[in-house]
């Protein structure tokens, strides 16, 4: 579900302090400010508004991403005033959510590979990475697989591969990782629940 432009406007009316500007009898005069200053507000009005959830602490605050319909890029992110917990408010990290988008020049955008004893990363494609990783996983698993433990009990486990993470991905991704780890027989499985 995507909230409408109207939704964005109504939701921002009554937030935080519980005071709606529109309810205060404010005279909405024609916009007289300068074009460059106006730009962002106008862009928001014509943008697609997409709801997401904050990716830091576990309060689960709602956020609204304003997406430029022409470029498909996010250009503004602020609180979702309809959200019953956050009511539009955000802390420092949430308020800076925009800096996690591709606007942040530090984002990883390429598959990187470092060969043994290499001193730098090399750019690779997905095909290389996935097939190579699959091969490494299989070789490592098969070599160190423990079918029976020292007592002779059937254990079918792989103690040579560890998996860590992540509490910072979606439920569906968590489940996929949890299940694939078990199918592989991994036992060193952990994530940030412990840190």
């Amino acid at each position: 579900m995507k909230i409408t432009r109207r939704g964005f406007l109504t939701m921002s009316g009554a937030v935080g302090s519980g005071l709606a500007l529109s309810s205060l009898g404010i005279d909405l005069r024609p916009l007289r400010a300068y074009a460059d200053e106006l730009n962002k507000m106008n862009r928001i009005k014509s943008a697609k508004q997409v709801i997401t959830t904050c990716c830091y602490c576990s309060v689960g605050c709602g956020l609204v991403c304003s997406v430029d319909k022409a470029t498909g890029k996010i250009f503004n992110i602020e609180g979702d005033a309809d959200h019953p917990i956050s009511e539009g408010s955000l802390c420092a990290k949430g308020a800076g959510f925009f800096d996690l988008t591709e606007a942040n020049k530090h984002r990883l955008t390429k598959v990187l590979y470092r060969k043994p004893y290499g001193t730098e990363w090399e750019e690779k494609d997905w095909e290389f990475a996935i097939s190579r990783i699959a091969r490494l996983v299989k070789d490592t698993r098969d070599k160190g697989f423990v079918t029976r433990n020292s007592k002779g009990e059937l254990v079918n486990r792989c103690e040579t591969i560890g998996h860590y993470g992540s509490s910072n991905v979606d439920n569906e991704e968590c489940w996929v990782m949890s299940v694939r780890s078990r199918a592989l027989g991994l036992v060193y499985i952990d994530h940030q629940a412990r840190v």
């Binding site: 990883l108 098969d142 040579t160």
Partner: protein, 807 residues
């Protein structure tokens, strides 16, 4: 959280202990302040005066690692001053149960301790049963072997003087907190507790929380609006990732990981399914086989059959009694046993204790796969400080991932609300969602096994793994429904005489319909009901109606289990189902049904001896456990000193440290208790402006600008003694490592008087690493020890010993 964020507003007293809510959960703190506006008293107990303390009614400083002493003192106070909620304690807890005659406690140890194994045999930690197998009870609570009397006796040693001497809290402050908090032990008042890593990051972490659970049960605060025990968890989906159990010891839905001795499904189910002979105990976990078999079906679908025990033996099995947590993994990696490592959305080279050991351990890896949105110290360990890349054999992959707003899916908040989020934009460059990366890698592995075979290849080749759509992208909805569960054949369900036909392939609307015969699948039973039988995705719901006025918002997203917003909610009513506090009516029995929140089961209240059930339906005995034999340290929490502390003797017993913690023994696992070279108690924490290891937030200029580099907070008195000026550079050492950082001299750390001596405490954030920013300092975890809670292996980040010197 037993309750949820909006519910914090319903409390009359909020004890924030083991949490710095204002800094780490600023929006949760909104609800705490809303309670305050309505007259609630907010108490902050923390070693350091923080932004939370600044907005509380008062702050009580406590020496790190002494929470059980503090809370034990409160239990003692509640019992001796008769502040407990008697009706609740008698009916809804095991206070009236009788403890086995063989059980004892002596000088810090419970019965059954094996010194060599550092483990207890729990054989004597049992409650007596009558001839029918129903627990014996003494409703007068006067039997000296009753749990109530045993509890009273156990905590009689936690006197004000003793507690004050251990914790460094003045007696006046202790009494102030005890009195105010204990005032909630009446029907009309609710007290809640907010904790976070300040409680879990200890060698006694689980018992810290259990101590509070005991208090909440004594005061009748469990299961009520404005009550409960609320873990303010630290990551966006740590609730979900825990629910799906990316954890060595559990399978999705907290099902138990099979161990080697349980070689058949039958044995496993027998062991894991609790039995109660008490007809009034719902003992909901008697349904365990349904959840477990449905999970196996979700993994292997039609390849899992009754004949092959639904694939039970394809699952890996742990050795009995052995743990495989992060610390164990790095210990094994350090010993050269772990050769390959997937590090997904994490920065373990910064976040794991004893970073020197962790970074050294990684040098033994053959390969490393990183998946993240930013680079970090873990992925670049091969060229970290003091590491020569030309000597590191590890083959490394760093795979670009989509950020949160670049993918669709659900996240579970700490209040168990599973909220759907939408994709706002494409990820930059080649980045794709982590789930998609994992699906593709596993699909490639599966192909290899189909072609080449290998040990236990069936587990892989039979795996249901069709989660990419026609365009080769992750099919989120399909996975989500797989988690919810399906009917695998046409099924007629009889609900109170109404028969409904569910067709094969329909989503299961509630876990009550899961089956142990293989006719249903359920990737995670607690998530059953996140979809309606008609396929409606309830996680997307955005209804704002609040019929109870308590802020439950039943139509906003989906809360597990079965959209219940406050768990154990039947305990908010008396035995006849009438709310204890009519002003905050969470639930009420109207004679034929419950009205309010989704009740903990449909049965009548327990006064109905025929059909009625006890309120704590997930407990074997149906009541809250004051006596809790599930813990490895003992049924009653006991104060032990941290592995590293300022004392040579535990003031309460002859047992200095937690007798059941695992001691890691590698050459890099050094400790220094009460060592003059490391005289100051140190604790670590985060700050509002950064998140966890800082691996996401350090790359963000707005946030980095506010907290640009590593610092150590030092009290004015200690700074004066050491000649350290505010803003100057200092080195902080532990026996394991050191960090250099800026000294922040503050009035917010005050020395403690412990056992008559002055003990200084300092603290550092753990948000920095060498990779970025270059001049921001490195990981605080160079200082921390490899040791953790004996139940969960949550590392001890909160109490250890250091020295501070001018740089």
């Amino acid at each position: 959280m037993t309750n949820h964020y909006c519910d914090l507003k319903n409390a009359d007293v909020i004890l924030i202990m083991g949490s710095n809510a204002a800094e780490h959960h600023p929006i949760a703190f909104k609800w705490i302040l809303r309670a305050k506006e309505k007259g609630a008293t907010i108490i902050h107990v923390d070693p350091r005066y923080t932004r939370t303390s600044a907005r509380c009614d008062f702050h009580v400083p406590l020496r790190s690692g002494t929470d059980i002493a503090f809370l034990g003192g409160m239990i003692h106070y509640i019992l001796t001053h008769r502040k407990y909620f008697k009706d609740y304690v008698v009916n809804y807890t095991n206070a009236s149960f009788i403890v086995s005659k063989d059980f004892y406690f002596k000088d810090g140890l419970f019965s059954g301790y094996d010194q060599a194994k550092r483990k207890y045999s729990k054989d004597t930690w049992v409650l007596e049963k009558d001839g029918k197998g129903i627990p014996k009870r003494d409703m007068t609570l006067t039997n000296p072997r009753s749990v109530f009397q045993m509890l009273k006796k156990h905590y009689s040693r936690y006197t004000l003087d003793k507690v004050s001497s251990i914790t460094g809290v003045s007696k006046e402050n202790l009494l102030k907190v005890y009195e105010i908090y204990a005032s909630t032990g009446v029907p009309g008042k609710a007290g809640t507790e907010c904790y976070a890593l300040g409680w879990t990051h200890h060698t006694t972490g689980s018992q810290n929380i259990r101590s509070m659970s005991i208090i909440q049960l004594l005061l009748g605060n469990m299961g009520i609006a404005g009550g409960g025990i609320n873990a303010l968890r630290g990551e966006p989906n740590v609730q979900g990732s825990t629910d799906h159990c990316i954890l060595y010891g559990n399978l999705p839905g907290y099902l138990k990981m099979p161990v080697a001795s349980l070689d058949t499904l039958e044995k496993y189910l027998h062991k894991c399914t609790p039995v109660s002979k008490d007809p009034q105990s719902a003992n909901y976990y008697s349904n365990y086989p349904k959840f477990f078999v449905s999970f196996l079906k979700s993994m292997w679908d039609n390849k899992a059959t009754k004949e092959n025990e639904f694939g039970y033996n394809w699952l890996p099995k742990l050795d009995d009694g052995k743990a495989y947590s992060t610390m164990h993994m790095f210990d094994a990696m350090y010993a050269g046993k772990v050769k390959g490592y997937f590090c997904v959305g994490a920065d373990t080279a910064v976040s794991t204790p004893n970073s020197n050991k962790v970074r050294k351990a990684m040098e033994n890896l053959d390969w490393l796969v990183g998946e993240n949105i930013f680079n970090n110290e873990t992925y670049e360990f091969w060229r970290g400080p003091g590491v020569d890349p030309k000597k590191i054999k590890t083959e490394c992959f760093l795979l670009p991932a989509s950020a949160s707003m670049e993918k669709e899916g659900s996240q579970s908040n700490s209040g168990r609300w599973v909220q759907w989020k939408y994709k706002a934009a494409e990820a930059p460059g080649d980045a794709i969602p982590v789930g998609e990366i994992e699906i593709k890698i596993m699909a490639a592995i599966k192909k290899l096994y189909e072609k080449e075979g290998g040990p236990n290849a069936k587990a892989i080749v039979n795996l249901k793994w069709d989660y990419l759509d026609s365009k080769g992208r992750m099919n989120v909805l399909k996975i989500s429904k797989q988690i919810n569960g399906h009917f695998l054949k046409d099924t007629v369900v009889d609900e109170k005489g109404v028969k409904t036909l569910y067709k094969k392939g329909q989503t299961v609307p509630t876990f009550g319909m899961l089956k142990a015969d293989g006719s249903t699948s359920g990737g995670n039973w607690i998530m059953a009901g996140s979809f309606g039988a008609n396929g409606e995705n309830k996680m997307m719901k955005r209804g704002k109606d609040d019929p109870t006025g308590l802020g439950l918002y039943p139509n906003w997203s989906f809360a597990w289990p079965v959209n219940r917003r406050i768990i154990y909610n039947r305990a908010s009513c008396d035995i006849n189902g009438k709310p204890y506090n009519p002003k905050r009516k969470l639930l009420e029995w109207t004679g034929d049904k419950w009205v309010g929140d989704v009740p903990d089961g449909p049965w009548p209240p327990m006064a109905d001896k025929a059909k009625g059930k006890y309120p704590f339906i997930m407990k074997q005995d149906g009541v809250g456990s004051l006596f809790g034999p599930g813990m490895v340290e003992g049924p009653f929490p006991e104060h032990y000193e941290p592995l590293e502390g300022p004392l040579t003797k535990n003031p309460l017993s002859g047992q200095l440290i937690n007798p059941t913690i695992e001691i890691f023994k590698s050459d890099m696992d050094k400790t220094a208790n009460a060592d003059a070279k490391f005289p100051y108690v140190c604790t670590t924490y985060s700050c509002t402006e950064h998140w966890c290891s800082g691996a996401l937030t350090r790359w963000q200029a707005w946030l980095l600008e506010m907290q640009p580099e590593l610092y150590v907070e030092i009290g004015e008195k200690l700074a004066q003694e050491k000649g350290i000026k505010n803003g100057s550079r200092v080195k902080v050492h532990s026996i394991r490592g050191q960090v250099e950082c800026v000294a922040m001299v503050t009035k917010r750390f005050q020395p403690f008087t412990v056992e008559g001596k002055t003990v200084h405490q300092v603290g550092l954030p753990f948000n920095y690493g060498w990779l970025f920013p270059k001049d921001g300092g490195d990981s605080t975890n160079f200082l921390t020890p490899t040791v953790g809670d004996a139940n969960t292996f949550c590392p001890e980040y909160k109490a250890f010993m250091v020295n501070v010197v001018k740089a």
